[in-house]
Amino acid sequence: MSWPNQSTLSELFALGLILPPFVALLALGSWGFLVRIPRERTVAAWVRACFTIWLGSTLALGILLELKSATDPFILVSFGHWFEAEHYGFGLSLRVDRLSGVFSALTAVIGGLIGRFSYTYMHREPGFFRFFLLLLLFTSGMNLLVLAGSIDLLFAGWELVGLSSVLLIGFFHERATPVESALRAFVTYRVFDTGLLVGAVLLHHFAHTADFESAFGAAHWPLGTSHLDAFAATVVAVPLIVGAMGKSAQFPASGWLPRAMEGPTNSSALFYGALSVHAGVYLLLRLGPLLEVSPIARVFIGAVGLATALYGSTVGRVTADAKGQLAYATMAQVGVMWVEIALGLQTIVLVHVVGHAFLRTWQLLRTPSLIHDAHHAGLKEIWHPDRRGHVLEGLLSEELRGRLYALATARFYLDDLIDLRIVQPVLALAERVRRLENRWMALLTGGPLGDENTSIAPQSAAAFSRKERAPQAGEGAPR
């Protein structure tokens, strides 16, 4: 009997890191779709096993890596190529280093906690099974995203995260508002994800590879050095930053985040308190070496972060609902992280992410306690409005404070402007194109002119610009 050598062992643990959520997802999913919906206890057992193995592997691998090298702990696990063309290979490789290790561990810990929480919270809910499938889909995606060794694989994880996020926002699909909010998040993701796609293509173009290792990885995180010059680094980094803006709800892509609170509390905590919202930060951290050589990209990140921090904290200050308040506070903190990245404080950002994720999870899960805290535990007496806001706000006149309050209440018309200036023109354009196409078809086929009255645009425009809706009562209440 021979002991496996260290590198085999670490590869084994790396598998233990990436596979559990996928395996649980496939097993439960195929069982549920092909045979029958499993019982709550069965689902829980699989989820428990998944997170136990995952956490165990993380721990083991962490120790192993630190033993291997205290200065540069990292491994690359390659599973070969998915496909290869002449100058191009779609590599399937995982990269475990301090950055991705921390994020993977964070995902495992918070995912496991939320899994346990949800077992109780979702009990007897008709969507119990669906919820857990989405939870596994999300953790799989998030894990893939952070462990990916190449931008291509990261993109795959990125999309899984987006997909599960949208489906969980619309979890209560029998009501209209969750579906509308999910649509809004979906469109925002789609638009900003093109940045990621463009960035990936450009990375291929300039670096001739998608692997982080070969693009900017002579030494390891956070010390990597870019193999690209300043120009190329900027051209590659800027679209990727745009990609990160969507998922991190950075200004001006912020509107979907408070709306995302339509899902069950536990998924709100998991996605928008803890993990998904930090995916953009992870991407920027991964791009560290590129940013190192591109001051323009850093300025861009800093500006976006600063704008978000100011926007989020101002609107958050006037928000009078528990989850909305946390959504704005979260986006503001993520904005602060972006500023920190712009300033080159990579390690601090990592600490910030971990602390922030745990705190927001805790706060979001506890939002229903606020009534108790305020009224019965007596916090309200301390919460007297007169006691707050003397430091910065005191500098402004009443008039100015009033204006700021009014603007913050309207959320600075951000979403209205987007709807009016972007969404509606785009839809109008689509409508014109559709008519044009109809005419063309009529011309070519000699058939009758397409039905001019059945247009798709107005309905979808209405659906998109619909922001909130009252629960059914009174909807179009007939007189």
Binding site: F172, V318, V354, A374, K380, I382, H384, R403, G474
Partner: protein, 1025 residues
């Protein structure tokens, strides 16, 4: 348009008066729920209480859009589960005063279908037709006519097929294909017949092919149904179509698109205006009222990016210049809309009902200003003014924009006479199929019989059937419970060793039963949980006061919890500690939501959140215990006393602090007289108030004591014990006929209905001997609460199938403290019945936590004064609880607040769904999910004569009963004669009696069963005498 207003002056404008009245009127339709921290159960449809129940639910459906009853599908599954029998439906049918009784005679007897069978089919299968389009589709697709419907009776189907076979056999002998054609398709033309057959069989069969294959089963079955359809078609063709009520052409005053623009803004403004301190920045100028505050803000809001807001801001600026009030602003908005003046009331109602939650809260706070820090500055008309102003400009915007959706507004579809024929045909066809009537038997029916049958089916429409189902459902349970009451053996109680006063709450039914089973020498009583002491209570560590009495009562005295003089030093330390802790908590709260402080906090301390996360999620019970231990360790709370004795000149905000001796007697004496406990006091008397603790639950207060106005009844119990311990009080009480011996030991306590903890107060005051006397009672209470937890756990799937009392206690404690637990307890979900009478009448009866039990001794109340007082006090409480559960259950979206899972705290006054929208009122689904929706049944042990007197004097009770919001039965003190009060008369209840099973203990009865249980007689609950 506004010139008229200004010329005549606002106060005298007739429209203005109409507007104010309209607001008042519409205000009554809105939910009557206050801020959620003090949840008071009330009849959801209180606005319609003046109407009879069945009429009210229909009116409410019209006005508010809520369901009137449970769905028919649900009722049917109750029928299959045996919670309704067909005989109950027949009984309900016979008793119904509605339109269904008009069908007399038995029109289908000619084909062997008595009317009772027709009714049965209606109830079991509905016999409703889908829309004509769907019908056509199903015919063409072949699923309707080629096979029997899923719910058909196989026996009936085989009869139809057998008769068809006979006919076909006869035809064969003469080879009459033309007859075959005619009977199956109504045409003897071969080509038409072929085409019709193909069309009706989804293209699967042709007529000739069926004829050729006439020996096969497939062809026979197909022929049977095709012929039956054809026969139904012919029979229903000649019927003169009934006058179809012309659909109300309701005018949409304001299109939905306008609400989509306005609702989010209004909900955001209302939330900020009513915020009790959640947002870091309070809304400026809100002390001016909503309208003026919004005006002030809007003028400063730079609305340039949104086109329709620009004229709105101009208008508001103009209104500010003119110094308009809310009423005038509302009127001006209305006049600016270009809607006919006659529609004013309709528009006001519509606009207020658009977001009923927020508007309702505004109205509620206007009526009860003490509920909110803004007090009298909250006015519904302010809200209306803001809403109408926004609506006006949104409407203008909508009108001016090229909006293709407008064309789609007036979609109308009218049924053609052909469609109606199709529907009639389908109903007849279904009826024949269910009844096993073939095309040949049906031939004998007269046109008159068919017409009457169709008329009957039309009258027994879904709403009527649901009404009858509802009556039958209630009737079934009523029969079960009355038969149990009539049979339960009554045994004389022995000399009691201890007596325990509980709240009349139905959740205490089980613990009382378990206590009596544990120790048969314990006697229990059910009284309103505020123990007659209507107090405003100020706890030592609580900043605000609570009114501990039913909502209908105003507290007459203030009671303060004060530090025991011996513990002054401790108290000072504790106060500093609490203050610092609160400052730290609220500091962290706002800091973590800010910018700079939040950065520091998350960077340096964020990781610490992992600790409570882990602890709270993995073992909620231990985490809570740890927190308690730490709390007591860091700063032990001082001993306290209540300010019972009134000190001269001690008042607080107009309320006297403490009670004088006479006042104490005045309040305590009726308590015992009502309960029929005036002599035979045991050596130990315990008074247990109740409340409920749950973590992470915005609706926590809805589980507290209803008789204490949605708060915990501990202080009342403690005060009662303190009063009764006073020898002077006992002496005075004797003068009032309440003979409490000098050495009776009296202790107050609190039962937590969620965690099943029992806390007894002031035990350190007891002597050694008293402690010894109390010891066995404490042991029994301990045992009883364990068993009570066990009985509750049978309802909790996650508790597992078989738990010991100890495990059950751990389970319910976990539930209480669990952050993720949406159902810490099931609250009043099982309530169904209220019994007013001595415990001896119910002792030993397993009532499944479904019965409010009010102690009352009819023999001590010959003139009915006590029962009048009792019914006047408890009827609104019981009806409020029960009806709120009813409505929240049958329509969780309109009347209830839906599922808890996405809920979000708004402004610290209520919950919303997710990110925005309306404030949700009513009860969440997780609280009511195991409810059986029925109107409460009151069983009062008295005589019909006395009850009649009570009804004539108590208007509110009369309204509930005469309008059938609750059912009432008089049980004569012998326990064997029952009178049901029905439409002004007392009708003797005669059965049916189901046997009352006897078991040894409650646990034996419920073990392994999780659904509703029938009453049973528990032997160990009554001592063998």
């Amino acid at each position: 348009m506004s010139s008229a207003v200004q010329q005549e002056g606002p106060a005298h404008h007739p429209l203005l008066e109409r507007l104010v009245r309209a607001v008042e009127h519409a205000g009554h339709l809105l939910p009557d729920q206050g801020p959620i921290a003090t949840f008071i159960h009330h009849n959801t449809l209180h606005a319609f209480q003046r109407l009879p129940f069945h009429e009210a639910v229909l009116r409410a459906q019209e006005e508010l859009g809520g369901e009137p009853y449970w769905s028919e599908q649900n009722f049917r599954s109750e029928l299959h589960r045996g919670r309704i029998d067909l005989s109950d439906l027949e009984e309900a049918f016979a008793a119904d005063a509605g339109s269904v009784r008009q069908l007399e005679g038995e029109p289908l007897l000619a084909v062997g279908l008595p009317v009772v069978r027709v009714r049965e089919f209606c109830f079991l299968h509905g016999l409703d037709a889908p829309g004509p389009a769907e019908l056509r589709y199903r015919i063409e697709e072949g699923s309707l006519l080629l096979a029997p419907q899923e719910d058909a009776n196989p026996e009936a189907i085989s009869r139809i097929i057998a008769e068809t076979t006979d006919w076909m056999d006869r035809l064969r002998s003469v080879d009459r294909i033309d007859e075959f054609r005619l009977r199956l398709t109504g045409s003897s033309d071969p080509r038409v017949a072929e085409a019709t057959t193909r069309a009706r069989s989804g293209g699967l069969h042709g007529l000739d092919e069926l004829w050729r294959a006439r020996h096969s089963d497939v062809a026979r079955e197909a022929a049977a149904f095709l012929a039956l359809w054809q026969r139904s078609f012919e029979l229903t063709a000649e019927i003169a179509p009934e006058a179809v009520p012309s659909g109300d052409s309701k005018v949409l005053l304001i299109p939905r698109e306008v609400d989509l623009l306005v609702d989010p803004i209004l909900s955001r403004l209302a939330k900020k205006f009513l915020d009790e301190g959640l947002a870091y920045w309070p809304m400026p100028k809100r002390e001016l009222g909503l309208y003026r505050a919004v005006r002030w803000l809007a003028i400063r809001s730079a609305g340039w990016p949104v086109p329709w807001l620009r004229p709105l801001i101009e208008e508001l600026r103009d209104q500010e210049r003119q110094g308009l009030g809310a009423e005038e602003a509302a009127l001006r908005a209305f006049q600016g809309m270009g809607i006919d003046e006659s529609e004013l009331e309709a528009l006001v109602e519509r606009s207020l009902l658009a977001l009923p939650g927020w508007a309702g809260l505004m109205g509620k706070l206007e009526r009860s200003p003490a509920m909110h820090p803004l007090g009298s500055r909250v006015r519904l008309v302010d809200y209306l003014a803001v809403r109408l102003t926004y609506e006006r400009f949104a409407l203008e915007h909508w009108r001016s924009s090229e909006n293709p959706a407008r064309a789609g507004q007036q979609v109308s579809h009218s049924d053609s006479s052909e469609d109606r024929h199709l529907v009639r045909c389908f109903r007849m066809f279904r009826l024949f199929q269910l009844g096993g009537v073939s095309a040949w038997s049906a031939a004998s029916l007269s046109g008159e019989a068919v017409r009457r049958t169709l008329a009957f089916l039309a009258r027994l429409d879904p709403l009527t059937r649901r009404r009858l189902f509802q009556e039958a459902y209630e009737g079934h349970y009523r029969n079960r419970i009355l038969s149990a009451f009539a049979q339960v053996p009554r045994r004389a109680a022995p000399e009691p060793r201890a007596q325990v006063l509980f709240c009349l709450d139905e959740r205490e039914e089980s613990i009382r039963r378990h206590l009596e089973e544990t120790d048969p020498a314990v006697e229990t009583f059910g009284v309103a949980g505020f123990f007659g002491l209507a107090i405003e209570f100020k706890g030592l560590e609580v900043h605000h006061t609570q009114a501990l009495c039913p909502v209908a009562v105003t507290p007459s005295h203030r009671i303060e919890e004060r530090t025991d003089v011996r513990d002054e030093a401790l108290h000072a330390r504790r106060r500093r500690f609490l203050k610092r802790r609160k400052l730290a908590q609220s500091g962290a709260f706002f800091a973590s939501r800010g910018l700079f402080r939040a950065t520091l906090l998350t960077l340096l301390g964020g990781l610490l959140a992992l600790l409570p996360l882990l602890l709270r999620i993995w073992s909620p019970r231990r985490a809570a215990a740890l927190a308690h231990w730490l709390d007591a360790r860091l700063s032990p709370p001082p001993r306290t006393v209540l300010s019972r004795q009134r000190a001269p000149d001690d008042t607080h905000e107009g309320l006297p602090v403490g009670l004088t001796l006479a006042e104490q007697i005045d309040r305590v004496a009726p308590l015992f007289q009502n309960a029929g406990l005036t002599r035979n006091f045991a050596p130990v008397l315990v008074a247990l108030g109740h409340g409920s603790t749950s973590r992470n639950n915005p609706h926590e207060s809805a589980h507290d004591c209803g008789a204490c106005g949605g708060s915990r009844g501990g202080p009342n119990a403690r005060l009662l014990a303190e009063i009764l311990r006073d020898p002077e009080v006992r002496a005075e009480l004797r003068g009032r006929g309440v003979f409490i011996p000098d050495d009776t030991l009296i202790v107050g306590g609190l039962h937590d209905t969620a965690s099943d903890e029992i806390t007894l107060f002031d035990l350190e005051l007891l002597t050694e001997e008293e402690r010894g006397r109390l010891e066995p009672v404490i042991r029994s209470l301990d045992e009883a609460r364990g068993r009570n937890a066990q009985e509750r756990c049978r309802r909790f799937e996650s508790a597992g199938p078989k738990v010991s009392p100890q495990e059950a206690l751990h389970h319910v404690q976990d539930r209480t403290e669990h952050l993720a637990e949406p159902r810490p307890e099931y609250g009043h979900a099982t309530n169904a019945v209220c019994f007013v009478g001595p415990r001896t009448s119910t002792r030993g009866l397993f009532l499944d936590r479904r019965a409010f039990l009010v102690s009352y001794d009819p023999s001590a109340d010959p003139d009915g004064a006590i029962i009048e007082r009792l019914l006047g006090a408890i009827t609104p409480v019981v009806a409020g609880i029960s009806l709120e559960y009813y409505f929240s259950f049958i329509d969780p979206e309109r009347y209830g607040c839906g599922t808890k899972l996405p809920q979000n705290i708004a402004a610290l006054v209520g919950v919303m769904n997710g990110h925005g929208g309306d404030l949700r009122t009513g009860l969440p689904w997780q609280m009511v999910e195991i409810h059986e929706p029925m109107r409460p049944l009151m069983i009062v042990e008295t005589t019909p004569g006395v009850l009649r007197q009570v009804l004539s004097r108590q208007a509110e009770v009369r309204e509930f009963i005469e309008n059938e919001w609750l059912q009432i039965v008089v049980s004569e003190p012998d326990g064997r004669t029952h009178w049901r009060y029905h439409r002004g008369e007392f009708v003797r209840w005669t059965g049916p009696k189901s046997p009352l099973e006897t078991t040894r203990s409650s646990a034996e009865w419920y073990e392994g069963r999780s659904d509703h249980l029938d009453p049973a007689f528990i032997e160990s609950g009554v001592s063998a005498s």
